[in-house]
């Protein structure tokens, strides 16, 4: 049985997909060109390195349904605008407020799961031995 519901009302779904969006963005950090060249020059097995680089470049985007992506895009834009401009509470609808809170929870969850490299500021999964971006050891 199919049921249609307003995407703005599904706070649990929003939180889940916002977290997936943040993780997807962190995982898809493009490698630095200079760093890649250095890796290529020093690679013991160049074919394996190429394969690994290609796989990370073609990483599948997170499977977030279009409706959630559109509403999350609106919420992130709204969050930015609210930080920039003075606005009255009445200018944010209840659905938007609930959505902003869901995004905040997802961000907190993301920050618990990821840490930033002290050298290049790239996000890495918490507990990683080395940065996947600059390959420096923690």
């Amino acid at each position: 049985m199919t049921v249609s519901l307003p995407v703005a009302a599904d706070c649990a779904g929003l939180e889940r997909f916002a977290f997936e969006l943040f993780c997807g963005a962190a995982e898809a950090t493009p490698p630095d060109g200079r760093q890649t060249a250095r890796l290529r020059a020093a690679a013991i097995t160049p074919a394996r390195l190429e394969d690994q680089l290609n796989r990370s470049a073609d990483a599948a985007p997170p499977a977030i349904p279009l409706a959630y992506r559109l509403w999350l895009a609106h919420l992130l834009w709204l969050e930015e605008v609210l930080h920039t401009l003075d606005s009255r509470p009445a200018e944010v609808t209840a659905a938007e407020l609930a959505g902003l809170q869901a995004v905040a929870r997802a961000r907190a969850q993301f920050l618990r799961a990821y840490e930033f490299c002290p050298r290049c500021q790239a996000p890495n999964r918490r507990g990683s031995a080395r940065c996947r971006h600059c390959h420096s050891e923690y």
């Binding site: 249609s4 519901l5 995407v7 779904g13 279009l66 959630y68 559109l70 609106h74």
Partner: protein
């Protein structure tokens, strides 16, 4: 000078003529649908009937992007709107009752209109001639028909090339046809002479007529502006549309808006983002709700004036008159262009100018 002469799009026409070139049975025909100008409520019903949805298809490769399938009930919506707006059609011939009955029974032919070949029957000539002749023989005067209806039937008989049917005229012609058929019923076939002419018009024609009403789009910015200089006017934002209606093109329809505020932009973005998600479907599906009312509200809030439109052959006298008469579909496209254009014309999106050393 009339609006037609000055190439102004008339916002309050008595009716809209949509000429169509259609082919049927190896012949080309020119027909014309005469429609009532659509009101905002008609467009609202049309948009609601479209039931727009986007279905996401799984990517072909593991790392590929998902595909999208745009779903809408275009035929049903067009059929509904056409039924609301149609007044009369020109260039069609009502089917002969025997032919129609045979077509319905055998299912081999389509609607059986525009059949001009000599069909062996009680009356020689085209279907319209035969219908009119039957009208004459059955005598309409005693059946409560007004003189206008009889005149319409007579004029249809006199015009062998194009036949116009309005609702009243067709009722008269239909009654006349059924009267005639009663005198000589086709044996073994049901009498389909009572079929309403609206039902006989092919769906493709109805869809094309409705599509012709929605032919409005942002104009391509191919030509340089006046003097080639960018106008530094902060108090208004022009949006240029192009449209086609009634067989004529209107290449420059200018809507001047006041610059949208953050509130306006927020309202527009919220509108775009408020969708419904379908749970339990095989593929993720997004239902797009009707946006026309909110877009019309935004238009009414932001519009200053327009250029290229006329109301009773005169430019709009006041803003209120403009808001009242402007086609809701034009309002929609203008607002979408206004907000879409702001995002699309960023320096990153624009092609880079070549520098001359």
């Amino acid at each position: 000078m009339s609006a037609a002469d000055s190439n102004l799009l008339e916002l309050a026409p008595a009716e809209i003529a949509v000429p169509l070139k259609v082919s049927h049975g190896g012949h080309a025909y020119r027909v014309c649908h005469r429609l009532r100008p659509p009101a905002a409520a008609d467009w609202l019903a049309y948009e609601a009937a479209l039931q727009l949805a986007v279905e996401e298809l799984p990517p072909e490769t593991e790392s590929g992007e998902p595909g999208y399938r745009f779903l809408m009930r275009a035929s049903e919506a067009a059929l509904d709107l056409w039924g609301r707006l149609i007044r009369r059609v020109d260039g069609y011939a009502l089917p002969d009752s025997e032919k129609a009955a045979r077509s319905a029974a055998t299912g081999l032919e389509g609607h059986g209109f525009s059949e001009r070949s000599g069909d062996p029957g009680p009356v020689e000539g085209s279907p319209a001639e035969r219908n009119a002749a039957r009208s004459a023989t059955t005598g309409l005067a005693g059946q409560g028909f007004s003189p206008d209806m009889k005149n319409a039937a007579r004029s249809a008989a006199a015009d062998l090339e194009g036949h116009g049917f309005s609702r009243a005229e067709t009722d008269a012609a239909r009654s006349a046809t059924s009267e005639g058929a009663r005198g000589n019923p086709p044996s073994g076939f049901p009498d389909h002479s009572g079929t309403e002419w609206r039902d006989l018009i092919p769906l493709a024609h109805k869809e094309a007529a409705v599509r012709a009403l929605t032919l409005v789009a942002p104009a391509a910015a191919a030509t340089p502006g006046a003097n080639g200089f960018f106008p530094l006017r902060a108090d208004e934002v022009p949006v240029v549309l192009e449209a086609a209606l009634g067989g004529r093109a209107y290449p420059r329809l200018v809507h001047r808006f006041r610059p949208p505020s953050v509130d306006d932009e927020r309202a527009y973005r919220r509108l775009l983002a408020e969708n419904l998600v379908v749970r339990g479907a095989r593929h993720p599906r997004t239902l797009i709700p009707a946006r026309l009312p909110a877009l019309v509200r935004l238009y009414d809030r932001l519009i200053l004036d327009v250029e290229g439109y006329a109301i009773n052959n005169q430019p709009p006298a006041s803003r209120n008159q403009l808001l009242e008469c402007m086609d809701a579909w034009h309002k929609r496209v203008a607002v979408e262009t206004l907000f879409g254009g702001l995002a699309a014309e960023t320096p990153a999106a624009a092609p880079r100018e070549e520098s001359i050393q």
